[in-house]
């Protein structure tokens, strides 16, 4: 059936997307403002981007953030994929209900609680706070998001493909690496990207679990934002937005191309 846009639908979509995107666009535009005063337009300039390069603290924080995000996303994806397999493939076992509760609770848990509780754990076991405690905290909450992403893919793919692998003599481990993993690879990649950006974004949990010497970019931005709006922060924000947008666009382009190719292939087979 050919559906077409109705006036009501167009209006609600346009207004909705205007609401979603205008604040971000304004932020980007004002990052190119010559004037230091945020509300006065002083002409186009990229000087705030230049001054970022000389801001040692901001650059250090950015580097810490990227490292935390990379490590935590990688571990979170591995643990999250395992959790998704446990939930979708291993059937019933003792403690399954508790496990699925543990996987889904962090998704909605207020960050202040997660942050505080992890900090108290690190203090109780006497772990030095800093880079690694932030990383562990980020693995913990982002593995749950990764688990949900991978789980939904595992749920909708034909289980008999795995059975066929085992029927043909592949052990469960071989069948996972030779069959399941290649098929769910796109979901695993999006899980990694999601975990990466969640870590990149996090302010609250990192603030609780950090220690001396480990300041992440959001923490740096937050402390400056409290003092007011500055064009430098607009510039950093713009860079982060561009970074994430390009990543998401690239990922969606790749998936779109592969689905279009699949459609074309299917056509050819007719």
């Amino acid at each position: 059936m050919q559906t077409r846009f109705s006036w009501f639908n167009v209006t609600s979509i346009v207004l909705g997307f205007a609401f979603l995107y205008i604040p971000i666009l304004l932020l980007i535009i004002y990052s190119f403002n010559e004037s230091r005063l945020v509300t006065v337009w002083g002409g186009w300039s990229t000087k705030w981007y230049g001054s970022l390069l000389n801001n040692e603290q901001l650059l250090t924080a950015g580097w810490v953030t990227l490292r935390v995000a990379f490590i935590s996303a990688t571990f979170a994806t591995i643990l999250g994929t395992l959790a998704a397999i446990v939930l979708t493939r291993l059937g019933a076992f003792r403690g399954r209900t508790l496990f699925s509760g543990l996987v889904f609770a962090p998704l909605v848990m207020p960050e202040v609680i997660t942050g505080l509780s992890l900090l108290l754990l690190f203090v109780a076991i006497g772990m030095d706070r800093g880079f690694w405690t932030i990383t562990i905290a980020h693995i913990t909450f982002s593995m749950c998001f990764a688990a949900v992403v991978v789980q939904s893919r595992l749920l909708d793919f034909d289980k008999s493909v795995e059975e066929a692998a085992m029927d043909l003599g592949a052990t469960p481990v071989n069948s996972f690496f030779q069959v399941t993993l290649p098929i769910i690879a796109p979901a695993v990649i999006s899980a990694w990207l999601l975990a990466f950006t969640l870590s990149l974004d996090d302010l609250v949990i990192a603030s609780f679990t950090t220690g001396p010497g480990a300041t992440t970019l959001p923490m740096k931005i937050y402390s400056q934002v409290r003092l007011g709006v500055t064009p430098e922060i607009n510039a950093v924000s713009t860079i982060m937005i561009a970074f994430v947008t390009l990543g998401v666009l690239a990922a969606s382009y790749v998936t779109k191309r592969s689905t279009m190719k699949a459609a074309a292939d299917a056509q050819k087979a007719q």
Binding site: I13, I24, T39, M143, S207
Partner: protein, 292 residues
């Protein structure tokens, strides 16, 4: 057996870094503040034994929370702000999700991506973007005064209104996505059938579409309400001194007053307040998954 290794890795991680910390929070909420590092007593000491340790725990912090209206007000106002903001988000999100679900098929993936994209960009940055818009000499006032709609600048920044705007804006994708996925499953033929049987479009919507989209409405509302209740960044950056929210209270209790036991008690109570919605959410998710 290999199966157990697969279960053990994520299970042990979550037990150690998610469940155990909650017990520590609970234990700490029963402890007393101390000028030491860590800043609380008792610290478990092998030489004194368990009995001694337990005898030092009490509910003092909870009676303190109850006796100070600041905390009670913060709780009530958190729940109120989160509930009202959730309703606003539903009103804003529903037409968008509906429009997307009824858009031509080839447009839907693009629209989906446009909704998800802001969700991937930093939460902090998106809240920050509103400061420049809402403040007294901000872009909104500038715009409205420029076109003569108002003569005096609106005072939105540092009020509860700004917090509502911030929550609706930040959590809108969480509302739209579940709504969209349940609306998309509803065949337009159902509305056509209702109209064919004599129900005008508006009534057909209320009698057919809306009831069928309830799973999405419930999931979306819970996904907004639960984290919004404990929200810290939005009330801290956009709200004023009169905006009381429990997440902010916990933060300042911890970072400004360094009172770990009281902040733990605040966390325990916040968690208790959220247990019901969290359980409802999990049940709903379970049903969804089993229906597949």
């Amino acid at each position: 057996m290999r199966r157990w290794y697969v279960i053990a890795a994520p299970y042990i991680w979550l037990l150690l870094f998610f469940l155990v910390p909650f017990f520590i929070v609970f234990k700490l909420s029963l402890s007393d503040t101390a000028r030491a590092m860590p800043p609380y007593v008792p610290v478990y000491d092998m030489t004194l034994g368990l009995a001694n340790f337990f005898s030092q725990l009490d509910f003092e912090n909870y009676s303190f929370l109850l006796s100070d209206p600041l905390y009670i007000n913060a709780y009530i106002s958190s729940l109120k702000i989160a509930a009202v903001a959730t309703l606003f988000t539903l009103f804003v999100g529903y037409p968008i999700a509906y429009g997307m679900a009824r858009a031509p098929r080839e447009w839907r993936p693009t629209l989906m991506m446009l909704v998800i994209l802001p969700f991937w960009t930093s939460f902090l940055i998106r809240v920050y973007a509103w400061i420049g818009i809402l403040k007294k000499e901000g872009l909104l006032n500038l715009f409205l005064m420029n076109y003569g709609i108002i003569t005096e600048p609106l005072n939105i920044m540092n009020t509860t209104t700004a917090v509502y705007i911030g929550i609706v804006y930040s959590y809108l994708p969480f509302m739209i996505l579940p709504l969209y996925s349940s609306l998309e499953k509803i065949s337009p033929a159902l509305n056509e059938a209702a109209e064919d049987l004599g129900s005008p479009p508006w009534r057909a919507f209320w009698q057919v579409t809306f009831p069928l989209s309830m799973p999405g409405v419930i999931a979306g509302c819970l996904l907004v309400f639960i984290p919004a209740t404990g929200e810290f960044v939005i009330p801290d950056l956009l709200g004023g001194s009169e905006t009381l929210m429990i997440g902010k209270t916990l933060w300042s209790e911890f970072f400004n007053n360094s009172d770990w036991p009281v902040s733990s008690a605040v966390a325990v109570v916040l968690l208790l307040a959220l247990v019901v919605p969290i359980v409802v959410f999990q049940r709903a998710q379970q049903r969804e998954r089993e229906a597949v």
